[in-house]
Subunit: 160 residues, 2 copies
DNA sequence: GATTTTTATTTCAAGCCTAAAATTTCAAGC
DNA sequence: GCTTGAAATTTTAGGCTTGAAATAAAAATC
């Protein structure tokens, strides 16, 4: 079932237009979340992301695990964790048996603060995706799995 | 047709999970595009975005029009256009009758460079969205319209 | 056990981005 | 024709991000 070159070309353009629309939508949602975090909570998305990651791992994450998980550079998380530590939301704990490594953990204060943020975050998303049904979501989700699958393949290809 | 509170809560969680997956997918695609622009063309996404905007307006765009169109700050485009101008890809043209304003335009060299970039960009997207049919795209596109509609409403609400 | 390599993290330099202040010019009202 | 306010742009200060260099400790090799 060979498609014609014309159809392939049209599909390529259609995909490009979709990508631009998708990017615009996602950037818009992200901008609103950043705005809400700043205006309503005096914080930022990178800080929320770090706290969110640490909330999933109650025993804490090593700095390098944190940067891998968030897909940002090591130097980046250093700065963010520094700030969160100064504010008493995160704690650096020495790893027994390895004096190079440190584990970052949420403090009780940090956990409480995160839970507050997370609840609001969920409700913002719920509003922003108003009109999306469970079926809509399932359909998109399966298409996104295609994208993510490709990405994880590529990653393993790039592995050193 | 009142849904139960339980269903509403489940939908909210489902939407949140979708959002996280969507963000991961889009960030992954964007990261690959940035990588390709850097490694294959020695340029960056912000530069590509500026050139792309200027390519759509052969008569050029005022600096403020450019920043509005791209949804970035004025100061931001100043720096990017500075660099592109130094490299001979963009030209600043005085606006007759208004000595405050300047129009940024692609030079012929800039246009050629952009067309080269744009062709590659389209093919990268085409590969990254491999497996997305015209029907998939149409379905998602209509859901995204919901999001974009909400965003444009909000914008006009925020207008000064 | 000394040397080399790898691993974990931080520091650094540079680019991107924003919001706000500063500059220059235009337009309106007097 | 001044003055005041608005508009277009650039400059500035500060935060985020990266990739690469630097530091320090662990692990592997000899």
């Amino acid at each position: 079932m060979a498609e014609t070159a014309e159809k392939q070309e049209a599909l390529s353009k259609t995909r490009l237009r979709l990508w631009l629309k998708l990017l615009k939508s996602v950037n818009g949602i992200e901008a609103e979340i950043r705005r809400n975090l700043r205006d309503q909570h005096g914080t930022t998305l990178p800080r929320f992301d770090v706290m969110s990651a640490l909330a999933r791992f109650p025993d804490g994450l090593k700095m390098s695990e944190l940067s891998t998980f968030l897909k940002v550079s090591n130097g980046n998380v250093t700065g963010i964790v520094d700030k969160l530590t100064e504010e008493g939301l995160v704690l650096r704990v020495a790893v027994p048996g390895d004096r190079r490594a440190q584990v970052a953990r949420l403090t009780p204060k940090g956990r409480t603060a995160f839970e507050e943020l997370a609840a609001h975050h969920e409700s913002w998303i719920d509003e922003l995706l108003e009109g999306w049904s469970a079926d809509d979501i399932a359909a998109l989700s399966s298409r996104l799995d295609l994208v993510l699958k490709r990405q994880s393949q590529e990653e393993s290809g790039n592995a050193k």
